[in-house]
């Protein structure tokens, strides 16, 4: 598992269904969830959309 910034360590993947190249959330040496890259990229756009909706409500 490559943690970025040069850190590499073995992680246990028995709790997730994962393939090489996926991004995962690691807790205490175990991958606990596969991160959805698309969802991550869309988070900011979603925030902006929610804020603009609030403006329209007013």
């Amino acid at each position: 598992m490559d943690y970025g910034s040069g850190t590499k360590r073995k992680a246990n993947v028995s709790l997730v269904q994962v393939k090489v190249g996926d991004y995962v959330l690691v807790h205490a040496g175990f991958a606990i969830q596969v991160l959805d890259e698309k969802e991550a990229q869309e988070t900011l756009a979603l925030f902006k959309e929610m804020l603009s909706l609030q403006e329209e409500d007013r």
């Binding site: 028995s14 709790l15 997730v16 807790h27 205490a28 175990f30 606990i32 900011l44 929610m50 804020l51």
Partner: protein, 359 residues
């Protein structure tokens, strides 16, 4: 690089919260949330907008009881090799701490993961290795996964795992504090998903938002709570969609179910909370340190322990006082010489506030 630190967006969210003109108190139950809030000054920023946020019992090391620490100390004294996470070794029990026992010659190993403890046991067949398993729903599956791997017979766990939703129920039921909304822990929720929080919103009409750990995640979660309150809603919303699926991590849930069963346990600062702990199922008795060493642990079976004199960790964990209101904070109790666990753990409220020098 993906980043959730856009200042303009943060300003926009804060503006919306300010416009709402509210006076609210929210609780979160996660050391990492507290770290983000304090490190980035969001606690003060939000206070200016009428929103107070405090940490509840969201530090696994902190809610571990003195009795559980005494259990592991007793096993250490009897020559077992003890393996656990770094913070846990430093928490004082009634008689000593694991760190102190190490200085006195006991075999205490700090590990990053339960797998490190397992590897040690596999490579040292002559030693009895006990892993002190602390943590919420995020960590419990790692313990379960190892027990399913057929560990060697010289390996066992002292199970101190606890569950978040029953503790939230307990806090609201005790009613010591008016809480207008919960910010739910992102990583616990990656495992359990959204559903386990729903009964809380229904029963107590309290809004909840599952949040990630970046500054914008928390600001957004606060605003989502404010918006629910303005609209008279009490729902469970998920801000941390990039990691938390509605159903959670089913594979981890199945593994948890296979290995553990819920049990009534005491939390530091709380009375016994129904079905808030995890006990190793009978099938795995040979790996349950409480069963394996039942005779050795017998002297502690009916012992009750009180908190150290003057220590207000219980009140801090119930959100009744801020760490700075404890007379010991920063004087008699510091990270170098901690009196209570909240000053030991990097997830403890006192340690976080001390670290960023909010005296």
């Amino acid at each position: 690089m993906f980043s959730l630190r856009d200042k303009q967006l943060a300003d926009d969210i804060v503006l919306q919260i300010t416009k709402a003109k509210v006076h609210l108190r929210f609780m979160h139950v996660c050391g990492t949330h507290q770290d983000t809030l304090v490190k980035h000054g969001l606690d003060a920023l939000l206070q200016n907008c009428g929103v107070e946020i405090g940490q509840g019992p969201g530090c696994p090391v902190c809610v571990t009881t003195t009795k559980e620490i005494e259990e592991i100390l007793l096993l250490a004294k009897q020559g077992k090799t003890i393996a656990t996470f770094g913070d846990m070794t430093r928490v004082p029990g009634a008689s000593s701490s694991l760190q102190q026992m190490r200085a006195e010659g006991c075999d205490i190993r700090t590990v990053y993961s339960i797998e490190d403890a397992l590897n040690f046991a596999e490579n040292h067949e002559d030693k009895e290795v006990v892993f002190m398993a602390v943590g919420f729903e995020t960590t419990a599956p790692t313990t379960a996964s190892v027990l399913l791997q057929d560990p060697p017979s010289n390996f066992s766990v002292l199970c101190c795992h606890r569950l978040i939703p029953p503790a939230l129920h307990a806090i609201l039921q005790m009613g010591e504090l008016k809480i207008d909304g919960f910010i739910e822990p992102g990583h616990v929720s990656t495992i359990i998903g959204v559903k386990p929080y729903e009964s809380l919103s229904k029963q107590y009409h309290i809004p909840q938002v599952i949040a990630g750990f970046e500054p914008l995640d928390l600001l957004m979660a606060v605003w989502m709570l404010v918006r629910q309150i303005q609209q008279g809603k009490a729902e469970v919303e998920n801000e941390y969609v990039r990691a938390v699926k509605p159903a959670g991590n089913r594979k981890a849930q199945q593994i948890l179910e296979q290995v553990f069963e819920p049990v009534d346990v005491k939390w530091r600062g709380f009375p016994v909370i129904p079905r808030s702990g995890l006990r190793v199922r009978r099938k795995f008795d040979s790996y349950d340190a409480r069963k394996k060493y039942e005779d050795a642990l017998e002297p502690l079976a009916h012992e009750e322990f009180t908190e150290p004199v003057g220590c207000l960790c219980g009140e801090v964990l119930r959100g009744l006082i801020s760490s700075q209101q404890c007379p010991l904070f920063g004087h008699a109790c510091t990270p170098e010489n901690p009196v209570g666990p909240c000053m030991v753990s990097s997830e403890g409220n006192c340690h976080i506030l001390y670290r960023y020098m909010k005296k």
